[in-house]
């Protein structure tokens, strides 16, 4: 196999960190190459260099045998490198074709473009209608738009950053079909993911990064998920938390909760009912954009309902704001870390105060108790192993995984009665994810009720005692998580709730 991309001793430093330290590896033509590593291991810096967003301090790259030092993404695309980012850059109010045209250097006339979109998308098993509005499409389909946008440029190397984290199992299968077809056509793929099983089944080779250095290269099919994870974190992996669910009294009851969609591209909640007992972890699955954010806002108190629609410990709280609910012990951790769960430009200490003020008594008559605030922040950092220079660091300066640990720790350490958490391990590496799940399980063991809204089914299967699916703003009946088949979940995600009934009797007892 000939080498397509060779990285030769590349280093890149930022103030205070060496993000990449003398990186060597190569991607062969027509190879699917995995890039593995914890958050902060230097994966993003490395792919940003390949895509021309960042210039290396030292070292060089060769692409197709010639010297390669792209000025920017335009130069990278001209050379044949394309990238699908974890966060899409699509305009919801524009059509598929318009979005694709926006990303192209020399877009063909509209009709011709629509034709090419149809051709390329059918050829690679990514059916797309060029005239649909992005706002009307599911996340999985939006990803197709991003991929097709790349494929129209006939890339030689396609970089994919965590592509499966937003997909249903069926969508993942379809994506893999596409990627294997691309590979057969001679396109190389640089595949970044935390999902080790996926890497084992899909990738030919893997390069593993740790703290900015290449620590191993291997053939993933010959490794186990566990050995890959251990190479990645450089130590033994924590065992999955033990489920020891002893059903206690009902802590949270949601009854017939309906809410109009707040905006054009949001989802209305329809007749949502559930009950959560002490000691229970309730997993709520669903494809992104099916009402997860809206349910989260309704439970956290950022959107209000009729008082009796949300009942905490026998007290109606549906009409109470976030702070009144915190006072009673209902806490929340939203999905969007930067800008929602935390203010990016504020210090970690201030971000601790943000949600911990009431339960941790961090102020007297409105005056901030700085000593207590700092101590709370330090305790979160210590207990949850947050890697940061200190409590004065800006939240936005932390890596995604570290900030997530901070955000989860902030809520868990307040010892809530009920914690609602959306996407607890989104974009978080295996090691940090295991810590976070352990903390949530521990909270349940101490008698709290935990609702985990997640798109990661493996995660829900691992930690949830009971299980429901959110589809198009409706919640399926809650059923026991034991003996749950991935296939059943898939049907429930498609809105077929009869599948849930089979195990529902299990928990209603």
């Amino acid at each position: 196999m000939s080498t397509l991309l060779a990285i030769d001793g590349v280093s890149k430093s930022y103030p205070g960190v060496k993000a990449n330290d003398d990186i060597h590896f190569s991607v062969g033509a027509g190879e699917i190459h995995a890039l593995l590593g914890e958050n902060g291991a230097g994966k993003s810096t490395l792919v940003k260099m390949i895509y021309g967003l960042v210039r290396p301090d030292t070292g060089g790259m060769r692409f197709n045998g010639v010297e390669y030092a792209p000025h920017g993404p335009v130069a990278a695309r001209a050379a044949g490198v394309a990238m699908v980012f974890q966060h899409f850059s699509l305009f919801e109010a524009l059509t598929v074709a318009e979005n694709i045209a926006l990303g192209m250097e020399n877009a063909p006339p509209r009709r011709e473009l629509a034709q090419r979109i149809r051709e390329v998308s059918t050829e690679y098993g990514l059916p797309l209608d060029p005239d649909r509005l992005i706002g009307d499409l599911s996340v999985g389909v939006r990803q197709r738009v991003e991929i097709v946008r790349c494929l129209l440029q006939n890339p030689k190397l396609l970089i994919m950053d965590e592509p499966t984290s937003v997909l249903t199992p069926q969508e993942v299968d379809q994506l893999f079909f596409t990627l294997r077809k691309l590979k057969a056509d001679g396109v190389s793929i640089l595949y970044i993911s935390h999902k080790l099983e996926e890497i084992r089944s899909l990738c030919d080779h893997a390069t593993i990064l740790r703290m900015g250095k290449v620590v191993a290269t291997c053939t993933p099919a010959k490794e186990t998920a566990r050995s890959l994870a251990e190479m990645m974190i450089g130590q033994e992996l924590a065992h999955p938390p033990v489920k020891d669910f002893q059903p206690g009294p009902v802590l949270l009851k949601v009854e017939g909760l309906s809410m109009a969609a707040p905006g054009q591209f949001d989802v209305a909640l329809r007749e949502i009912s559930l009950s959560l007992r002490s000691g229970e972890v309730l997993g709520i699955a669903g494809v992104a954009g099916n009402g997860q954010d809206e349910l989260m806002l309704a439970l956290s108190g950022e959107r209000l309902s009729a008082p009796g629609q949300v009942v905490l410990d026998g007290k109606p709280v549906g009409a109470a704001g976030p702070n009144a609910r915190r006072r009673l012990g209902l806490l929340a951790a939203p999905e969007e870390r930067l800008g929602h769960a935390a203010a990016p430009d504020m210090s970690l200490a201030d971000n601790g105060y943000l949600s911990g003020r009431i339960r941790k008594r961090l102020s007297v008559r409105g005056f901030v108790k700085q000593g207590a605030v700092d101590a709370f922040a330090r305790k979160i950092i210590a207990d949850f192993d947050v890697r940061t220079p200190g409590i004065e660091a800006r939240a936005g300066a932390l890596s995604g995984g570290n900030l997530q640990k901070y955000v989860v720790g902030r809520e868990v350490l307040q010892e809530p009665k009920v914690l609602v958490i959306n996407q607890p391990t989104w974009g978080v590496d295996a090691h940090a994810a295991a810590q976070i799940r352990g903390a949530l399980r521990g909270l349940a063991t101490r008698g709290a009720g935990v609702i985990v809204i997640s798109q990661d089914l493996d995660e829900l299967v691992e930690i949830a005692d009971s299980f429901a699916v959110l589809a198009n703003g409706r919640l399926s009946p809650v059923r026991s998580a034991t003996g749950l088949q991935i296939e059943t979940i898939g049907r429930m995600m498609g809105g077929d709730f009869s599948a849930a009934e089979e195990g529902a009797a299990h928990v209603s007892a």
Binding site: A69, G301, A332, P344, S363, G366, F367
Partner: protein
């Protein structure tokens, strides 16, 4: 040659140094401007920036000019931090002066220690209510507060003219459009014997201290910062954005109104159409020059006051046109925003390399 790179962390000294850099750049550009007008640039800059500092009378006049600027800028800075753009402080200043002045005139020649506080309250209420118009329109109909508050400035100014030409006109004033002179009980006490430095200066200083404490040590200041930086995180923290919008606009209006009534009861002594001299607009520059920080605003207010005093001297001693002074103040805001780039980006020499 050079290129800009976003800073990961902004060093504290940069935040402190850039306003000084802006003042320096303003002096240079202003010098060129004055040279083009045929004046000696060094002499002009000296008269504007340095001479007032050496003169005791000018020093106390600086305090008098700075007091309203600082009061208004403090109120504005809280709103600006929260992303609420009250551009109409000038109008709220006028309405404060008018409301407070009207109370003073209603009790004309009635002596009593209660009158001045009552007038101050009326002034704050006047400014506050005027600012609550854009606040209400914003939270109820999502109207842009920049436009509404700005347009209300002209309404307020014309309203003042109408009042001093009509109901509030001095009956013994030969039909001049101005009110009676306020009597003793309705005038601000002087705190420094032999000068015009009045109680309003003290109030402005106290307001700086209070604002600094509230901003850095109190939940209110925290919520203000949070709403400006991350509105969704503010909602998560339980901040009621609409209520805070109303409070902040009302607060900035009240402080502008207070500054207005202080001018009427202090240096001026009566209501007259020439009352609005642009303090409400200049205070916007002061707020940004002071980095929306109370102590910074105090310093910035002094600098702006200096350009007013020095500018006046330059007008009569060197014949600089009044408009040139306004241009000069505009330059200061311009350079301030320009050097702001340095706080968010750093200049690095561009590397040369092929593709």
């Amino acid at each position: 040659m050079f290129r800009l790179e976003p800073r990961a962390v902004t060093p504290v000294w940069i935040t402190a140094v850039t306003p000084l850099l802006a003042v320096l750049a303003t002096m240079i550009a202003g010098g060129i401007l004055f040279a083009l007008l045929g004046k000696d640039p060094f002499e002009t800059i000296r008269v504007i920036f340095v001479a007032p500092l050496g003169d005791p009378y000018s020093r106390t006049e600086m305090l008098i000019k700075a007091a309203p600027l600082v009061l208004i800028a403090l109120g504005l800075s809280f709103g600006f931090r929260a992303g609420i753009w009250n551009i109409g402080a000038e109008g709220q200043y006028v309405m404060g002066a008018l409301a407070g002045g009207a109370v003073g005139l209603a009790f004309w020649n009635v002596e009593g220690a209660w009158l001045l506080p009552l007038m101050a309250l009326a002034g704050m209420a006047g400014g506050c209510l005027w600012a609550l118009i854009p606040a209400f329109l914003k939270v109820r109909f999502n109207a842009n507060e920049i436009l509404v508050s700005l347009m209300l400035v002209y309404v307020a100014t014309l309203f003042l003219s109408a009042m001093v030409s009509g109901p509030l006109r001095d009956p013994a004033g030969f039909n001049f459009p101005q009110s009676r002179l306020l009597h003793e009980s309705a005038r601000l006490p002087i705190v420094l014997e032999g000068t015009r430095v009045h109680v309003g200066v003290l109030v402005a200083l106290i307001a700086v201290v209070v604002a600094q404490i509230v901003l850095t040590r109190h939940l209110f200041g925290f919520n203000v910062r949070l709403l400006g930086q991350a509105p969704r995180a503010a909602a998560f923290a339980g901040v009621n954005a609409k209520r805070l919008t109303v409070v902040l606009l009302g607060l900035s209006g009240a402080l502008a109104g207070l500054a207005g009534i202080f001018e009427v009861t202090g240096p001026i002594g009566q209501l007259q159409p020439s009352l609005p001299v642009g303090y409400g607009f200049t205070a916007i520059i002061v707020a940004f020059l002071g980095r929306l920080n109370p102590v910074g605003i105090l310093l910035a207010g002094m600098v702006m006051a200096l350009t007013y005093i020095g500018g006046e001297t330059a007008q009569f001693s060197l014949g600089i046109p009044a408009a040139a002074i306004s241009v000069f103040q505009g330059l200061l805001l311009f350079f301030l925003l320009a050097v702001d780039l340095l706080t968010r980006y750093r200049v690095v020499p561009a590397k040369r390399s092929g593709v």
